[in-house]
Amino acid sequence: MSVPRILAFARLANGNEGPVRVIEGQGTKLSRTMHGIAYDSVHDEIIVPVHLAGAVLVFRAGASGEEAPIRVIQGPHTRILRPETVNVDEKNNEIVVGEDVGRDVLFFPRDANGDVAPLRMIRGEKTGLDEVRGVAVDPVRNLLVVASRSGRGTTGVFVFNRTDNGDVAPRALIAGPKSGIIRIRQVEVDPEQGKIFVAVKNNTESYKFADASPSPWNPDKPGFVGVWDINDNGDVPPRGVIKGPASEVVWPAGVALNPGNREVYTIDSVSNGMYSYYMPEFFPAKKQ
């Protein structure tokens, strides 16, 4: 909700440190409510959703200052309404867009630019999707993992076939009291380990005019970063958790992975803090 910009921090930054560079300014076309971001390591690009302008922007990964995006996906043919989150499928060369208002997942060619139609779209009653908060692709198993929050349906992790199209039911759904999922945000997949990492925010929120509004100081169920197996299905507890006062996590909204350094990152919207965890349990050493 602050200045709509992209901040880049050195991985080893620690304490009260500023970003090493910032992408910001009118020329960037950024807006607030960028609830997703993806880094394309193959093409060295950053992808972000622009919720308030119904667009997806692609920047040079090294962009800084008021640098314009190199590609913009926007317009009536895109079918984009309110892009909430994005990810990139480097293997299949696709950008994946999740929407809250659209209640859908859209797939675009990675190099799409302008008012282009999506390649595929998962949308409809059978999907069970409502407010899509996170998307990730497992290219090894050809799966799409979707975090969806719903006030009237199911909040959880929905797993589809990567090439599903139209009004299709998920092949698996991780949800229920044992899962601990109440509110959900960004997801990531470690395809090598076959694990799903989820920012289970579990925050109290209300966006309905007539509801009593909650205070940000009073979360009755603190969130966590949960790890599930890619083959999990049903009301399954997480196989690994980062949670509790020492973790500093209250309402974790984002999750990112660095298997090379065996680290997990999260960002918390209550403390306005970013936290790094060394987690060899989640990234076992490769056998020689």
């Binding site: 901040l7 880049a8 989150t85 509004s213 100081w217 984002g254």
Partner: protein
């Protein structure tokens, strides 16, 4: 301990732990410290333990300047005549902070000198405007709280009309309530529609002398016909033919103060000559009959003639390394002192300039929420991140 108290304790513990850790020597990377499987301390953290200024308001009659702080979720009131001359953090007269305050991701702030009340907009999550009495300090309950649409940003008070105006980003709307609104109450009127030109509105002022309101638009637009809300909660069934998004140029729209519905603005300042670049806070300076704009994108203050219309250049610009302006979010005018106040998001400071200032000039006074030179991470309710493996960097969109 009830749920609310328990939850507050959890948040309080986390914030205290963060502040405690940051106030000591930055923790070294320790890959062996793991007291429990679930409850694992981070090996590194980035957080700002100091208040970060967003909105700013000044009350000349009572001698105070007040700022909203979405970082530590607080309101700070300072003596408007006391600056931090040696780079030290300024001591506020009062700080309002804590679980009972209802303060969260706050943005705009206004002061009501006549009724001695502080208004601030909870922009995200809470979707309320919190009203505090001037004398509030510490962890106190608000005098009033009223519900507003999601993504409320700017506030303006109309004394004669006895109304409060609230801009709403996602809905491209200005909603007007009676000043004493409390709880859930329907607005008196709404300014919204294609002809208004409202597009991601932010700052707003109410010019009593000319019976006008002015609003700063970022230009992000996804339509109004079927855009009944969204942002975080869908309120309609999406249809294929729904409007597409647009990235319009930024603008300042000036409306009749009584405007409602799909009213056209009286004047619009928009175009390449304007230099507008993420205009945030906005204020009317009656002494100079000008509109003062916090131009966040290029760290400047733009001053336009009130009657400016179309693609016009600002009459004056305050910008440069001597100014100390660093990604400004708010502006306020002190007519008594003849000053413009600027709140910086970029470096924990607020600056007072002569209201006739132009060019690369230094401020008359500086108020700091942290010692000079303190880094500013700049998080504001962040929701996502990614790892850039090539640069070994973490990327965070706000």
């Amino acid at each position: 301990m009830n749920k609310k108290a328990a939850g507050a304790c959890v948040v309080g513990f986390a914030l205290v732990a963060t502040l405690s850790a940051l106030s000591q020597t930055a923790p070294q990377e320790n890959k062996s410290a793991k007291p429990a499987f679930e409850d694992i301390p981070p090996v590194r953290m980035i957080a700002d333990p100091y208040p970060a200024f967003n909105g700013i308001a000044v009350d000349a009659a009572n001698g105070i300047v007040a700022m909203s702080d979405p970082n530590r979720k607080s309101l700070l009131l300072y003596d408007r005549m006391r600056g931090a001359s040696r780079g030290e953090a300024s001591l506020p007269l009062r700080q309002i902070v804590g679980p009972d305050t209802f303060l969260g991701m706050i943005a705009g702030i206004i002061l009501d000198p006549r009724n001695q009340e502080i208004y601030t907009a909870n922009n995200d999550i809470e979707d309320t405007v919190v009203v505090m009495p001037y004398g509030a300090s510490g962890d106190v309950k608000p005098a009033r709280v009223f519900s507003v649409p999601h993504q409320a940003w700017g506030l303006a008070l109309g004394d004669a009309a006895d109304q409060i105006a609230v801009t709403v980003e996602v809905q491209n709307t200005i909603v007007f309530y009676r000043r004493e609104v409390k709880g859930v109450e329907a607005p008196l009127r709404i300014l919204r529609g294609a002809d208004t030109g409202l597009a991601d509105p932010h700052g707003i002022y109410w010019d009593e002398s000319h019976n006008e309101i002015g609003v700063a638009n970022h230009g992000n637009f996804r339509g109004v016909v079927k855009n009944t809300g969204g942002g975080c909660s869908p309120s309609f069934v999406a249809e294929d033919e729904a409007e597409a998004g647009e990235s319009r140029p930024p603008s300042i729209g000036i409306f009749a103060a009584s405007a409602k519905g799909d009213a056209k603005p009286l004047r619009v300042i928009q175009g390449s000559k304007t230099g507008l670049d993420w205009p945030m806070g906005i204020a009317y300076d009656a002494q100079h009959d000008t509109i003062v704009v916090a131009n966040n994108g290029d760290s400047s203050i733009l001053i336009f003639g009130r009657n400016g219309n179309g693609d016009v250049a600002p009459l004056r610009v305050i910008r440069g390394d001597r100014t100390g302006i660093n990604h400004p979010m708010g502006v306020a005018v002190d007519p008594q002192q003849g000053e413009i106040w600027v709140s910086n998001w970029g470096d924990h400071s607020a600056l007072a300039f002569d209201s006739g200032a132009r060019g690369n000039v230094g401020p008359k006074r500086i108020i700091r929420s942290a010692p000079a030179g303190t880094p500013t991470p700049g998080f504001g309710n962040p929701m996502a991140l990614a790892y850039d493996s090539k640069r070994d960097e973490l990327l965070v969109p706000n």
